[in-house]
């Protein structure tokens, strides 16, 4: 039986898969936060889930998983959520970002339209027989593939486990918004305190999970003036009588026309080189998806653990009705709250990319944030789940690694890496690409 809290960050190459387990009086409470990968090698997640299953407590003829959190619907976070890999697991709660809620009360046209347009664009580009480079092909396929994983999370897994998913946001339990009634709050063990929705399905009274992000009002906080950024969005779709998004002219998207004044070959080569703003939709959708990641704080026996999904950081201040990043909104809303400080564990956001953690080189608001949540004398434990240089990206970011390495107690100095010569001899947080699956033990805090 566990006596301490254990966090296992699995090596899924470029992705996230974290199992958190801790004693909760006479039971072990288990939370699975994401399970996905960009890798095309499916057995990665299958094998990891088999290992996870073994770690879960027995529950009748199955294994018990108390809570499954899919922070956001990107394939590197949800690819593993396939019923076939989880049929021996009994899941008691499933949390999804309110971004996925089809019954979202506010105007859903814009945010969901972007998702639909992105999906349509991906299908169109994929089917239009246009030559693609291998990176783009993988990206497009992943976009199309994640649709299946979303269906799993929304429908199949809840159905098979006799539950309904909960679309989570910071202000879900805020009674002034009237998003759920008291009966549901009781059923799901939710309350609203100190500006966050709190989940308290625990036997120990001091244990709780606080939802720090996203905000329910996605359009207001994360979308901004999208027409200005990607053109006349409303001209590209219509809403039918059931308020479902319908893409205009979708049926003509799949065949290339034939001009009269240049050859077919020249036209084919031309099409390959043109910029599809559909890709802008996909990029916009991707940012929006990241910024509406579920970010939650687990408090257990006076210890604080922060799980961040792929929350992004841009500039440290927010504007309503503008495109803001997740961290910016969190800091603005919660910067004075007692619990938003002195972490004991941080799962670094966005695989260690420069925009995943409030961090800039010079002194400023972001240094203040870092000093507050992971002060240098606190000795927090920090883990990055990553694989470098995927798709040519500069991930993880070296400067960020050095900064975080200087703030954690269990830093490592890894052997020389020619891809990152600037990290030679430097302290870094623990990285799955260097160590494989990482296990962190958190002991209870002093009384």
């Amino acid at each position: 039986m566990l006596s301490n809290l254990r966090v296992k960050v699995y090596d899924v190459e470029f992705g996230d898969c974290v199992l958190v387990q801790f004693p909760d009086r006479d039971r072990i409470y288990s939370i699975l936060v994401d399970c996905g990968t960009w890798s095309a090698f499916d057995p990665i997640v299958k094998d990891v889930l088999a290992e996870i299953e073994n770690d879960l407590p027995i529950d009748g003829d199955k294994r018990r998983l108390d809570l499954l959190v899919a922070t956001h619907p990107h394939l590197d976070h949800i690819k593993g959520f396939d019923y076939n890999y989880l049929k021996n697991v009994k899941i008691y709660n499933i949390w999804l970002s309110c971004f996925l809620d089809l019954d979202h009360k506010q105007s859903k046209a814009n945010a969901l339209a972007i998702q639909e347009l992105a999906e349509s664009a991906a299908r169109s580009i994929d089917l239009r027989c246009v030559d693609k480079n291998s990176q783009l092909e993988m990206y497009l396929q992943n976009r199309i593939s994640k649709s299946g994983a979303i269906v799993m999370l929304r429908d199949t897994l809840p159905q098979k486990n006799g539950i309904k998913p909960l679309y989570m946001c910071r202000d879900l339990a805020d009674s002034t918004l009237n998003l759920i009634d008291d009966e549901k709050k009781q059923k799901y063990k939710l309350s609203f305190s100190n500006k966050t929705t709190c989940f308290k399905d625990f036997k120990e009274p001091d244990t709780s999970i606080r939802i720090l992000s996203p905000e329910y009002n996605i359009d207001k906080y994360y979308l901004g003036d999208i027409d200005a950024r990607i053109g006349n969005l409303s001209a590209l779709y219509t809403l039918d009588k059931d308020n479902e998004v319908k893409i205009n002219n979708e049926e003509v998207m799949y065949r290339l026309p034939e001009p009269d004044n240049i050859s077919k070959r020249d036209f084919r080569i031309l099409c390959d080189s043109l910029h599809y703003s559909a890709l802008s939709f996909m990029q916009l959708d991707d940012h929006l998806t990241n910024d509406t990641s579920i970010v939650f704080l687990l408090e257990w026996r006076r210890k604080r653990l922060l799980f961040t999904g792929d929350a992004e950081f841009h500039r440290g201040e927010i504007e309503e009705e503008a495109s803001n990043a997740s961290w910016d909104v969190i800091v603005e809303k919660l910067k004075n709250e007692d619990y938003f400080r002195d972490l004991d564990f941080l799962k670094v956001s966005h695989h260690g990319s420069i925009n995943g953690t409030p961090f800039i080189d010079e002194e400023g608001v972001t240094q203040t944030v870092l000093n507050r949540i992971i002060p240098k004398d606190r000795g927090a434990k920090i883990v990055v789940s990553t694989k470098p240089k995927v798709k040519g990206r500069n991930v993880p970011n070296s400067n960020l690694m050095i900064e975080l390495g200087g703030r954690c107690s269990d830093y490592r100095i890894y052997p020389y890496d020619p891809e990152y010569p600037e990290l030679e001899g430097k302290k870094q947080p623990r990285r799955t690409d260097k160590e494989g699956t990482i296990e962190i033990i958190i002991e209870p805090g002093a009384d």
Binding site: D266, L270, K391
Partner: protein, 608 residues
């Protein structure tokens, strides 16, 4: 213009290059089009900069699109997958393009046919300018395999436009949203700028290979100066500029400020948001070569040379006004319109001469790795050949400007330096000198160079290629022809080892240092100009070769550190638009070839 078609027009066409504009008009060798002289944004402030009629060179074979000998407009929107049909049609009786519905083109920003004709006309006019006997006096090839560039006036949604060699295209996008949608194809600055890139790529295709920041910046300079030159050729534009400045081009004006629609849009709507490509630059600056220190932005660095040339134009104009005593006369004139008109003609003289100065120099430029000083020397030499007597002291003005901006690289901080060209080889030193044989083929040219390796400083053991050989037929005013120039370009490549961690994945590989030279002969075989780019194996100029090699290494290092380099996909797996890396690396002959892509001038915000 009469609507009747001269029966002999097709026959007369072959002599069109010898005829004046008035004669061409009489013979029906011009076609009328309507274009934006600047762009819709400027036109809101200065209505005369909106749609205006212009007369362009006619060619046989104009057809729908528009399509002409060297240009094919394909109005395809990649987002909606829509090809606009019918496109603008050629009406041979009226000798102009009409709408796809057989009616005159609706001159409106919302009219697809108008956009098609607008963009075609500016590309056609810009190419015609470069090829004109009073400018470069020859047909300019495109850099790609083929002779017809594809122009896409409304390719999709982005605040961008670009030239792409690999797809043989000029692509123009739209941005903003209704009712303020903006089409980059309606901006004269932007269309002329991109056409300038395409033309320079045809004249000197090896400038697209990564060699130094100055070479990349030169591309931006030439594109910007093309915008300025082509705009100032219109009477209406010169008139408005004169109204704004009184003929003093040092004063800020809408021609010296480039691509206002993008600058305005970027300032209001993209602040702090997406990284966008900024066309907005100004030629009004006093930047010197020190601005290039640790500066790896080709847009930024180009401003030094653009500013220098613009200053030269301004001073030439001033000189003309002084000569015609206009300044004193202006004071006497009361009427603003009269004042302006008197200066407009002077500005025409100035821009005509300036165009020759700025563009003729291109034939005298090295085939590879151009530096600003190479262009400065080429410019002076080309002008010297065309105007041996510098009666108006223009070359003195030019030298002073280059000197004051540090382009001449001389130690003399006092008066202007000489900007001397290198000592030219003497004919009597050269072996096997029969210009007719040399210019008969690239292999014959090779024989000539091979027999004279020592003179032209080609290392003994080095194989090399003659990459271009052509002649020109230039004129000065009044149709007087200059002696024919024969231009010969040759190159070779040296391996450069990428040593050190700073080269990332490319450490231990070989990059290619492009070396070579340009020789310009007259038709009697006299060497008018010789410029060379040595390698490290060059005995006489080893130091210069090493300096060039170090420039190349530094540039590649910066590109790698900035994560701008990616492996090129094969021809069959082209990237999609802005997803291509800024610099593509191809493996060739077991070393790496670094080439700029359109993305070199545009870095979209990445998903991650």
């Amino acid at each position: 213009m009469e609507e009747s078609i001269p029966k002999f027009r097709n026959e007369v066409y072959k002599f069109a290059y010898l005829l004046s504009e008035e004669t061409k008009e009489e013979l029906g060798l011009l076609t009328k089009s309507v274009i934006f002289l600047q762009d819709p944004y400027v036109a809101q402030k200065i209505p005369s900069m909106g749609p205006n009629s212009v007369y362009l060179d006619w060619e046989p074979g104009f057809s729908d699109g528009p399509t002409s000998e060297r240009i094919a407009v394909v109005d395809y929107d990649v987002d909606s997958n829509k090809l606009v049909k019918p496109a603008a049609k050629w009406d041979d009786k009226k000798r102009c393009f009409i709408g796809g519905d057989n009616l005159p083109i609706d001159v409106s920003t919302e009219s697809a046919c108008f956009r098609q004709v607008n963009v075609w006309a500016i590309v056609h006019d810009t190419l015609s300018l470069f090829q004109h006997p009073k400018v470069m006096g020859r047909f300019i090839p495109w850099a790609f395999e083929g002779n017809r560039i594809i122009v896409v006036p409304n390719a999709g949604y982005a605040s961008n436009a670009l030239y792409d060699r690999s797809s043989k295209s000029l692509q123009f996008y739209r941005f903003g949203y209704e009712p303020n949608e903006m089409y980059t194809c309606l901006s004269h600055d932007i269309v002329a700028h991109e056409t300038g890139h395409a033309i320079l790529d045809g004249i000197r295709p090896f400038y697209n290979e990564i060699s130094s920041i100055q070479t990349s910046s030169f591309h931006e300079f030439l594109a910007d100066i093309t915008s300025i030159i082509t705009a100032l050729r219109f009477n209406e534009v010169r008139y408005e500029v004169v109204l704004q400045t009184g003929g003093n081009l040092d004063k800020v004006n809408f021609v010296g400020d480039l691509a206002e629609i993008l600058g305005e849009y970027n300032g209001e709507l993209f602040e702090g948001e997406l990284q966008t490509r900024s066309y907005l630059r100004t030629a009004h600056n006093n930047l010197t070569m020190s601005y290039l220190n640790n500066n790896w932005s080709c847009h930024d660095c180009s401003k030094v040379l653009t500013g220098a040339l613009y200053e030269i134009l301004s001073k030439i104009t001033r000189k003309q006004m002084e000569l015609q005593d206009l300044i004193r006369k202006q004071i006497a004139l009361k009427d603003e319109k009269e004042k302006a008109n008197s200066v407009v003609e002077v500005l025409w003289e100035a821009i005509t001469h300036f165009t020759r100065i700025a563009l003729r120099a291109l034939d005298f430029c090295p085939p590879v790795d151009i530096q600003f000083i190479d262009y400065a020397k080429a410019l002076l030499r080309a002008d010297e050949i065309a105007f041996p007597v510098d009666a108006l002291n223009y070359r003195k003005i030019i030298r002073e400007v280059f000197h004051n901006r540090g382009i001449c690289e001389c130690e003399d901080t006092g008066s202007a330096c000489n900007l001397e060209t290198s000592k030219q080889p003497l004919n009597r030193e050269i072996n096997w000198f029969d210009i007719d044989r040399i210019s008969s083929s690239t292999t014959a040219a090779y024989h000539f160079l091979n027999l004279n390796r020592d003179i032209f400083e080609i290392p003994e053991n080095q194989d090399f290629a003659v990459v271009d050989l052509y002649d020109t037929n230039k004129q000065v005013s009044c149709g007087i022809s200059l002696p024919k120039e024969i231009v010969l370009e040759y190159i070779w490549r040296e391996d450069v080892l990428l040593e050190g961690k700073d080269f990332g994945n490319y450490e231990g590989e070989y990059a290619q240092l492009l070396c070579g030279g340009t020789i310009v002969f007259d038709d009697r075989g006299n060497i008018l100009y010789f410029v060379q780019k040595p390698g490290v194996e060059n005995k006489k100029h080893k130091k210069e070769g090493e300096r060039r090699r170090n420039n190349l290494l530094k540039f590649i290092e910066n590109l790698v550190r900035g994560d701008m380099v990616g492996v090129a996909q094969s021809e069959d797996q082209a990237g999609l638009g802005f997803w291509r890396p800024a610099v593509e690396v191809t493996r060739r002959e077991r070393s790496l070839l670094f080439e700029a892509t359109p993305g070199f001038r545009y870095h979209p915000r990445e998903v991650y």
